[in-house]
Point group: C2
DNA sequence: CTAGGTGATGACAGCCACTGTCATGGACCT
DNA sequence: AGGTCCATGACAGTGGCTGTCATCACCTAG
């Protein structure tokens, strides 16, 4: 056994999640988080840049998943439909960690500071998607715009999924949202809303 | 003359803008801002909820402008095109304060905290637009999605306008961005990119 | 003209997020 | 055995932000 208990980073994240759920983000001090994890405040800040960051996983696992899905989409696919495959991948991951995703989101939506941080994370995700699209030969401003639309669909669909607990399938919500948006923008819907058309299970063909 | 110099709020905003431009947001303390305005730190926080807020005008003047433009758009117009009129109005206002807008934006983009605050302001603007669309009879999730798309177009177009100083007309950039997005989404463009079609000057007909 | 209310500001103490710096002592290598 | 490494602790300090009370020009009632 090492000099210290292992996985201090994970223990800090766990302690923070518990305390935020118990008494809210603002009523929890970093010192308290550290104490519950058996560490000091100073050590918390060695693992996380600030108090909010403990709720936002690093490494870009989520981002990588989406980017990879877009990269490996058939080259013939229109940008917006390639991005749709990225959304499928995102939905799959979030639904896998269903309960955790919902608990985490409840904490975030309850606090303005955390919502700010979430938005900037999504903005950076948007940048990554735009880069990926440029890699597929999409030119600006189309790449940036399509990426922003992807985030918009994600936000709206995720919020809807989070609100109606135990409701519809997240991927379905995203698909129908995207279709509705296409209709709204004047294009004929690629498939009836509520059930995805041919690109539906393409993510499994990667 | 009153007991104190008039318009302390305005003096604080002015002092803050100067200091942020001189030495950056992070290297400026609230005490310094207050001192330059001839006030105390405590008084700063009586006028602004936090240090960042001094850069974000209150009262929702900007929001009202856009919402009003959308409300007074012809009822027959598709949601996305009603929103286009809102963007016209926004562009007009920002271009009127051209130099100021650019200076302010330079400060904001240089700092992560300020970018976060900007994003949450835009998110609240998106909510306001979605509400307005619902008032026009647009149902969800279409209303939320169209509002998000409006913000996306605004963000991309404004960034482009800000980068190429003295370049193209902001409204033109927004119009062509919106058209490009429509094309990207699969719809036929309502007008050639770069020059707006019939809805172009509708904002002046309000 | 006076008494009392009002409202913006100052003065001051205090909390907490976050940082710089140095010390500590197991783990690991040679 | 000796030396280096590195995650952590200890401690002091800065600055954003808040609660609280005092101050004092202005206004209004009588």
């Amino acid at each position: 056994m090492g000099r210290w208990e292992p996985d201090s980073r994970g223990r800090l994240a766990q302690a923070a999640l518990e305390l935020f759920a118990e008494r809210g983000f603002e009523n929890t001090t970093v010192a308290e988080i550290a104490e519950r994890a058996g560490l000091t405040e100073r050590t918390f800040f060695r693992h996380y840049a600030d108090k909010r960051e403990v709720l936002f996983p690093t490494g870009g696992e989520f981002e990588n998943l989406i980017v990879t899905a877009i990269e490996s989409a058939p080259a013939a696919l229109a940008p917006i439909d390639a991005v749709g495959l990225g959304l499928d991948a995102a939905a799959a991951m979030l639904e896998q960690r269903g309960e955790f995703s919902r608990r985490r989101q409840a904490i975030i939506t309850a606090n303005a500071e955390l919502r700010e941080r979430e938005l900037i994370k999504l903005a950076s995700l948007s940048d990554a998607i735009a880069d990926t699209l440029r890699g597929r030969g999409v030119t600006d401003p189309g790449a940036s715009l399509t990426a922003e639309v992807a985030i918009a669909v994600f936000r709206v669909a995720f919020a809807r999924w989070h609100d109606e607990a135990g409701g519809e399938d997240l991927r379905q919500i995203m698909r129908s949202s995207l279709d509705e948006l296409k209709a709204q923008m004047g294009a004929p819907s690629s498939a009836p809303a509520g059930q995805a058309g041919e690109p539906a299970n393409a993510v499994t063909q990667v």
